[in-house]
């Protein structure tokens, strides 16, 4: 079980309010990702849930139990740190045994749990090594193993993959997703990586300056960003945001068009000049400078012959257009 409810959770560091009172529900078994710009309070929120940081006010309820004042170890949560935080003087086996030892688990039961976790994480051959004798990916797996053996109500990850190289990051990402499927345990995952957020999450929580801008599935956020911040934050390359005449014509103060919802056309649309063209084979990214609406990010499927300086016309798919009011809130049709 791992249903987590945050009620009016608030955190100040001295005079600075890092998290204004915030409510959030996380369902049992959900994979929740916190995203947001650097310094927005993702780690702080995660640490508040873990109990590593004291709340200024509010309540945290896990499976119906108020754990607001419980010690970190008493909340039934496990955390995987960005730095792995493996105990350098203990072997892999001892690292993984540590939480069980703290819980007073009988040795033979502990042995079985550790062996099973090692099996799952492909660590069986390294059990007698010290962390310093492992690769980054192996260390990451040990950190996860140490979390698994406790059979926690939820796993908390704070940017666990950011110290790994790109290839390893992709495979570890898949491993964690796989693990989530196998264990079906609640996971809360902090990242600033768009791809991680979109691919792994059941539910994304977008944070900005400690406030929740929107909560929803990746596709919800992509299709119906609640406001300009989410619209600009989710999606890569970024959504084109257009103000002025073109927006007013459509009854909004700002309109947003994702790069993939722009097409080159022979007639009509906005005329412009290609400033940059990136050819990835599968996609082509372009930056087009237009008279009417300024610089536009354009994403085309497949290879498109376009070079710097070419004149092109681009037109939006009108049904995919997002409209926002003067407050930046989404306008519904």
């Amino acid at each position: 079980m791992g249903k987590i409810r945050l009620n009016g959770v608030n955190k100040r560091f001295g005079a600075a309010e890092v998290i204004p009172a915030l409510d959030l529900e996380i369902e049992d078994g959900e994979f929740v990702v916190f995203v947001g710009p650097s310094g927005c309070g993702k780690s702080t929120l995660l640490r508040l849930i873990a109990g590593l940081e004291d709340m200024t006010s509010g309540a945290i309820v896990i499976d119906g139990k108020d754990v607001s004042n419980a010690a970190p170890g008493a909340r039934g949560l496990a955390m995987v740190f960005q730095s792995y935080a493996l105990y350098p003087h203990l072997t892999v086996a001892e690292n993984m045994a540590f939480p069980l030892r703290m819980a007073g688990t009988p040795t033979d039961l502990a042995q079985t749990k550790i062996a099973r976790a090692a099996e799952v994480l492909n660590l069986s051959g390294y059990m007698d090594r010290k962390p310093s004798q492992l690769s980054g990916g192996q260390r990451q797996r040990v950190a996860i193993g140490r979390a698994i053996v406790r059979e926690p109500a939820a796993f908390l990850f704070d940017e666990p993959l950011s110290n790994l190289d790109a290839a390893l990051r992709v495979s570890m990402r898949q491993e964690i997703t796989e693990l989530h499927r196998k264990l079906a345990t609640t996971m809360i995952y902090v990242t600033h990586d768009q791809v991680e957020a979109m691919t792994m999450a059941d539910k994304i929580v977008v944070l900005n300056a400690g406030r929740i801008e929107q909560v929803g599935s990746p596709i919800e956020l992509y299709d119906t960003p609640r406001n300009l911040f989410v619209a600009g934050f989710i999606g890569s390359p970024k959504m084109n945001l257009i103000e002025g005449q073109e927006a007013q014509v459509r009854g909004a103060s700002v309109i947003g068009i994702r790069p993939e919802h722009l097409d080159t056309v022979a007639e009509g649309g906005w005329e412009g000049q290609v400033m940059l063209a990136e050819h990835l084979g599968s996609d082509t990214f372009m930056q087009v400078e237009t008279q009417a609406v300024g610089m536009l990010n354009v994403r085309m499927d497949g290879e498109v012959k376009a070079r710097h300086g070419d004149k092109v016309r681009v037109a939006p798919k009108v049904d995919k257009m997002h409209r926002f009011d003067a407050e930046g809130l989404r306008l519904v049709h």
């Binding site: 109990g51 170890g73 949560l77 730095s83 935080a85 105990y87 350098p88 003087h89 939480p99 140490r146």
Partner: protein, 294 residues
């Protein structure tokens, strides 16, 4: 190819540059040691001179010298209790200061003061604190009608007094080293342990302390060797008394050399101390190496 040759040339010029320093070290560090070893095999007496005799007689005499043997007992007590107290208290203060992150700079300043006090001044300060007629501590307790017993009039008390003075003066050294080591331990580890369900105390004993262990061993070794050289505190606070109860080995070497003019015998005691310190250091360093290897 070129880089190898260049580095060889570099090597040579480094060696050349090291020469004056090595010579200085040789003369100032090694020569007195050689002098001490040479003397220890003679029967040189400051007044009577040297009869020409060379041999192991001084070392044989040591084995049967009751004062020498009891000096080892005193030295062992001073070293053991001193090192334990200094390492335990120094570590405790360092851990305390490490938590009070914000004000630690200021606090560190205060705790380091005793370390800056010269040995003789330390001895004089504590001599007056342990002299009932001069001590503010005695005066304070006297206002409640409690008589603080005189420390320097019994062996146990006098050894305790020297250990206390030494601990006061040198704990800051231990504290500084441990503090530096603590700050090299990631705070994530404590948090990980907290998540794993460890109390602060268990987390200290199971995680922090083992990680400090090599540092503590080195600092204990350092302090141990220093305590073998106890002299100013004994000289000023107890004059070796009561009776001879605080004549530690190094002090006894002084007594033999300067009071009794038995320079050769004093040198033999110094040689013993040197070898003793060397053996202990070797074992500690080896076990330390084993620890950090594993």
């Amino acid at each position: 190819m070129t880089s190898v040759r260049a580095s060889a040339a570099m090597d040579r010029s480094y060696k050349l540059m090291l020469l004056p320093a090595s010579l200085a070290v040789g003369i100032f560090a090694v020569a007195p040691l050689v002098g001490m070893f040479v003397l220890s095999f003679t029967d040189f007496h400051l007044i009577r001179g040297w009869s020409g005799k060379i041999g192991l007689q001084n070392f044989l005499r040591l084995a049967g010298d009751a004062r020498f043997l009891s000096s080892i007992y005193v030295m062992a007590a001073l070293s053991f209790f001193g090192v334990v107290a200094q390492v335990v208290i120094g570590t405790a203060i360092a851990v305390g200061l490490d938590r009070i992150v914000k004000s630690w700079r200021f606090a560190r300043g205060i705790f380091v003061i005793p370390f800056a006090v010269p040995h003789i001044a330390v001895a004089l300060i504590w001599l007056s604190l342990f002299t009932p007629t001069l001590s503010p501590i005695t005066a304070f307790f006297a206002t409640f009608g409690i008589e603080v017993p005189a420390m320097l009039t019994s062996q146990t008390g006098a050894i305790a007094a020297i250990v206390i003075a030494d601990t006061w003066a040198t704990t800051p050294f231990v504290m500084l080293i441990v503090l530096a080591a603590l700050q090299g331990i990631s705070p994530d580890l404590d948090e990980a342990a907290a998540m794993d369900g460890a109390t602060r105390i268990r987390s200290f004993f199971l995680i922090t302390l083992p990680l400090l262990y090599p540092t503590l061993l080195m600092v204990a070794l350092f302090r141990f060797i220093e305590t073998l050289k106890h002299f100013p505190l004994i000289f000023v606070m107890t004059s070796g008394g009561p009776g001879r109860a605080t004549q530690a080995t190094n002090y006894y070497a002084y007594v033999q050399t300067f009071q009794s003019s038995n320079v050769a015998y004093g040198a033999a005691i110094a040689v013993f101390l040197f070898i003793f310190a060397g053996i202990i250091s070797f074992y500690i360093a080896r076990s330390n190496a084993r620890l950090s290897d594993a």
